[in-house]
Symmetry: C2
Subunit: 276 residues, 2 copies
């Protein structure tokens, strides 16, 4: 769907006063803090997810069918404002997707001093990455795969031959779930130092989101609340965070803005106090 022939208006509900906006203008005034942060050894991390009213981030294993065309346009508007977009390998295994922005957003990226396309970042502890089958869009020189030391050598060789960049990131053991996951703090430093990523957009899946949130590495959450009741058992119907209980946050999520289109709500929360 192209932004040029879709013009569902969006109502900004919060902060006041209410205004009616075109989809293109909804996040037009979003400015993510970058170089002026006191502690900028890692990118500013923004998570974007969709959920049904009953908390389901996927239906039959896929997130794609839950959102409206407006949701997809806003997802792309966020991609247009960041240096890199990250997803976990499970999300890529679940459905075909692209991390690219459409042509008509390239000019606004360039006006902001961003590269024409955000760097596509895949986080995986596994070797099962269906890049060619499911990832649409990025040329290999715009693709970075974060793998673990556990990844077999032949997989690395195969990934390398595709032309993608590869970074092997240490794993950290999770004492609660007793599983191992990529050390995201280290991964973020690498993104900042070697790939000049100041703002990173994370688009799931729920396990990757959970690792960011639990480690205090997620700065904002954009949450689309789709006007649907999906039901469904846990397999295939994940919530936006999948993992052990998250320790209570000192400063809970702070609501930044609320937009409404049709019956779909678009919520933006700060997850960490400003000026960290």
């Amino acid at each position: 769907m192209d932004g040029t022939f879709f013009d569902e208006p969006v109502l900004r509900l919060f902060p006041e006063p209410s205004v009616r906006l075109s989809v293109e203008d909804v996040y037009g005034d979003v400015r993510f803090p970058t170089r002026d942060r006191p502690s900028a050894s890692r990118p500013y991390v923004v998570v974007n997810m969709i959920s049904s009213l009953d908390g389901k981030a996927t239906a039959s294993g896929k997130a794609g069918p839950i959102g409206s065309p407006t949701d997809r346009l806003l997802m792309r508007a966020l991609r247009a404002r960041v240096d890199a977009v990250m997803i976990g390998a499970g999300t890529l295994r679940a459905e075909k997707l692209t991390l690219a922005v459409p042509r008509d957003l390239k000019a606004s990226r360039e006006a902001r001093g961003l590269r024409p396309q955000p760097l596509a970042v895949l986080a995986t502890g596994s070797s099962d990455l269906p890049l060619e089958a499911n990832l649409l869009g990025p040329s290999p020189d715009n693709l970075l795969v974060l793998t673990s030391p556990e990844t077999p050598e032949e997989c690395l060789t195969e990934l390398s031959s595709s032309g993608a960049s590869i970074e092997v990131v240490p794993e950290e053991s999770d004492s609660v779930s007793s599983s191992s996951q990529l050390d995201l703090a280290r991964a973020l430093e690498t993104l900042k130092e070697r790939y000049a990523v100041d703002v990173l957009l994370v688009e799931g899946g729920p396990v990757l989101n959970h690792t960011f949130v639990r480690n205090g590495l997620a700065d904002e959450l954009f949450l689309t609340l789709a006007p649907k009741l999906l039901g469904g058992a846990r397999s295939g119907t994940l919530t936006i965070l999948e993992g052990p209980p998250v320790p209570p946050q000192k400063t809970g999520p702070k609501l930044i803005s609320v937009h409404l289109s049709g019956d779909e709500l678009f919520l933006r929360y700060a997850l960490r106090p400003p000026g960290w």
Copy 2:
């Protein structure tokens, strides 16, 4: 917590124009359709639930700790407007609770022609109902237990001796989950015919909600979206609907109103077209 010494203002965001309200006035203009409905063989059914941003309706098995004092006041404001409040037995087993409204709301109930306290309705297929331990408030003559034909005779005798009313409701088999549940359509007819219930408030748990929604018996959803990220595995962290996938609704949930207090959102949705 008593409504009289709590005065966090609430901002109505939708429908426009935005207004600042006291908690008492938030649902002050709510009118549920009752006798003028064309098909009024059952009560109008309103579901009220709370969820974290990551879709969790319970933390460590309990819903109580998720909401704010404002949420609890609005929960009571809804109770003040209905003839009966229903919960499932699992919810009562999970935590101590009351289904009663505080003294200061009795006058407004009487002004609306309602009995001083809503009828407390417990839906159970099981015999394990910790009435004395966990249910605070209703006198036995204000308590109705909906049981199934499977309930052992001695349990019925014990319940009867407590003074509570008892209705044995047929079960319907669920072809999807291959479990049996109370036939809620029949239960609703009983509530209407024998107990003069025109408006029923359902407060969970998630399995009971799911049965109402899947059978098209829920007319509205009041959803509090708490500014929390809880995480947690499925056991102990249910979503607001627990059960098989819900068939897509012809008319999806329609947003009726949005209120904001602090960072907590209070959403009201119509689940069925008006005038059914």
